[in-house]
């Protein structure tokens, strides 16, 4: 499991993952349709903002915000929890363990390989946002663009690692889909996916700042819609990557402990 052989395997894994994404394109389309919640919230919030702006948001800001939310969700999606839970239950995880490659790497590459196809969905929405909202829909400076790219990567990592941790719980309980459902509800509400985090009442906003969810969606979206100047964005970026690090360490721990219990039923 040396680093060199892992790196050498990456291009092939990418190709396989991409081919898989193409093969299941209908499924992905359905998934994309099921992530149209931001568009419904967009309709809702525009109605609310029709009479008077909400906080700093007028109707146009809401359009920019929720289209960006849709794009960020496409780019940071991960489904490892379901996959891991399924593979633990059916014992197929054993196959992955036999390969000379860390299973988390292969999962990660599989997830990333679907990205080109997701970009195809996200790009038209980005163009639409640009047409509707103008330059406010995109980061203002090259530095902010760089922060945005890192924020998207961080958002994806948080989603992926959290999925991994919850998926590993299946090693103890047999299935962790229920835990994932609870996580998803919290994610939807506290990530800025349905409601911009800024609009939460004071005390709640403090709580949300200490949860990982807003760094999955809210933060990249806010960078995209220029809610921060550069220093502010960097502070948030540091917090986001602190979460990435914490979740990474936690996943290591859960994975090592859990794997000892793995019995490869049916595998």
């Amino acid at each position: 499991m040396s680093a060199r052989s892992t790196v050498r395997a990456l291009p092939t894994l990418m190709r396989v993952g991409f081919a898989e994404a193409i093969a299941y394109r209908a499924e992905m389309l359905v998934w994309v349709l099921s992530t149209t919640m931001p568009l419904i919230m967009l309709a809702l919030w525009s109605a609310v903002a029709a009479d008077a702006p909400v906080g700093r948001f007028d109707q146009k800001d809401f359009v920019g915000y929720f289209l960006a939310t849709f794009i960020v969700r496409q780019l940071t999606g991960a489904w490892l929890a379901w996959q891991l839970s399924f593979e633990v239950r059916t014992g197929t995880l054993a196959m992955r363990l036999l390969r000379p490659l860390h299973p988390m790497v292969s999962y990660g590459v599989e997830n990333l390989a679907a990205l080109p196809l997701r970009l195809v969905v996200a790009l038209p929405v980005a163009i639409l946002a640009l047409l509707l909202v103008g330059s406010r829909a995109l980061p203002r400076s090259p530095a902010l663009w760089a922060v945005w790219a890192l924020a998207i990567l961080g958002g994806w990592l948080i989603t992926f690692l959290a999925n991994g941790i919850i998926g590993c719980l299946a090693l103890w309980t047999g299935s962790s889909i229920k835990v994932m459902d609870v996580w998803l509800v919290a994610f939807m509400v506290f990530s800025g996916y349905l409601v911009p985090v800024e609009l939460f009442p004071g005390a709640m906003r403090t709580v949300v700042a200490w949860l990982p969810f807003r760094y999955q969606i809210g933060f990249p979206v806010e960078v995209m819609t220029s809610a921060y100047d550069l220093p502010g964005a960097l502070v948030m970026l540091a917090r986001q990557w602190a979460f990435v690090l914490a979740l990474f360490l936690l996943l290591q721990l859960v994975w090592r402990r859990g794997l000892r219990r793995f019995a490869a039923y049916g595998g």
């Binding site: 299941y24 359905v30 109605a47 609310v48 229920k178 509400v189």
Partner: protein, 265 residues
């Protein structure tokens, strides 16, 4: 008449076996109850934020919108307790080809698959819905008029029928797109929009949610009936619409069934 009696007895058998199965997992009662409470409480957050510091949105005050949320919770309980468990199993049947065994039985296939599984523990959500309504009407300072309650009961029937028909339509898609886990996800995320009174949506979206995916008929109209401000025309329209949807879904189901190629044989 004899067929009716026969199907009624069949239903009894199916429900009994589901309840017995459910009793084996009594711990689920607590987990499901806790999860559903958490769900409902968390799901209220966007509503609270939207109405925060505002007297009303699109003609709905906060307690009135709560009545809609109550209906949403109730229908979700019906969906998750009585509708989706069975129909998720159909998707599995289609994928594996085991639908053959259902089709071979001497009873209507749609009836058999729709009543195959109930999850009694999901009924905890009914209590949550009642609690939400109580809070809403206490805050409103009045109680629903008797006639409105009666209309709401009728609408409960038509809403359940609509929900069921929409599910049958979704499941029918499984005959065409084989892997359909995602379809149930899609259904749930669209249904989520029913949490809001339909009046907050403008233009095309409102038409879609009233006529194409009739979410308005499921939560907004019953809530309006409870608040005593639903027009009789809307009531009749809802019932007729629900029947039309049921008829349509039956047609589509039969059409899709004709395409079924039995993956196993």
């Amino acid at each position: 008449m004899r067929t009716l009696v026969r199907y009624f007895r069949l239903l009894q058998v199916q429900v009994r076996s589901s309840v017995l199965l459910g009793m084996q997992y009594r711990a689920d009662f607590l987990i499901d109850g806790a999860v559903s409470l958490f769900w409902t409480a968390t799901a209220l957050v966007p509503l609270i934020v939207v109405f925060h510091g505002r007297p009303g949105v699109a003609g709905w005050s906060f307690p009135e919108a709560l009545v809609v949320v109550g209906w949403f919770t109730l229908l979700e309980a019906i969906l998750e307790g009585a509708i989706s468990p069975s129909l998720t199993a159909v998707v599995e049947h289609i994928r594996k080809g085991t639908l053959d065994f259902v089709l071979l039985k001497p009873a209507d296939a749609q009836f058999l698959v729709s009543t195959a599984r109930f999850e009694p523990w999901r009924s905890t959500n009914l209590l949550t819905a009642l609690a939400i309504w109580t809070v809403a009407f206490v805050r409103l300072g009045r109680w629903p008029p008797p006639l409105g309650l009666l209309a709401a009961l009728v609408l409960l029937g038509s809403a359940t029928l609509l929900l069921y028909s929409l599910w049958i339509l979704t499941v029918s898609a499984a005959f065409y797109v084989v892997k359909v886990d995602n379809l149930t996800n899609l259904f749930n995320s669209v249904f989520d929009a029913a949490r809001w009174p339909v009046q907050v949506f403008r233009g095309v979206l409102r038409w879609v949610f009233t006529l194409v995916i009739p979410l308005a008929l499921m939560t907004t109209y019953p809530a309006e009936a409870m608040l005593g401000r639903l027009s009789p025309l809307a009531l009749v329209g809802s019932v007729v619409g629900a029947c039309a949807f049921a008829w349509l879904s039956r047609r589509v189901w039969l059409g899709s069934l004709a395409r079924y190629a039995s993956a196993s044989s």
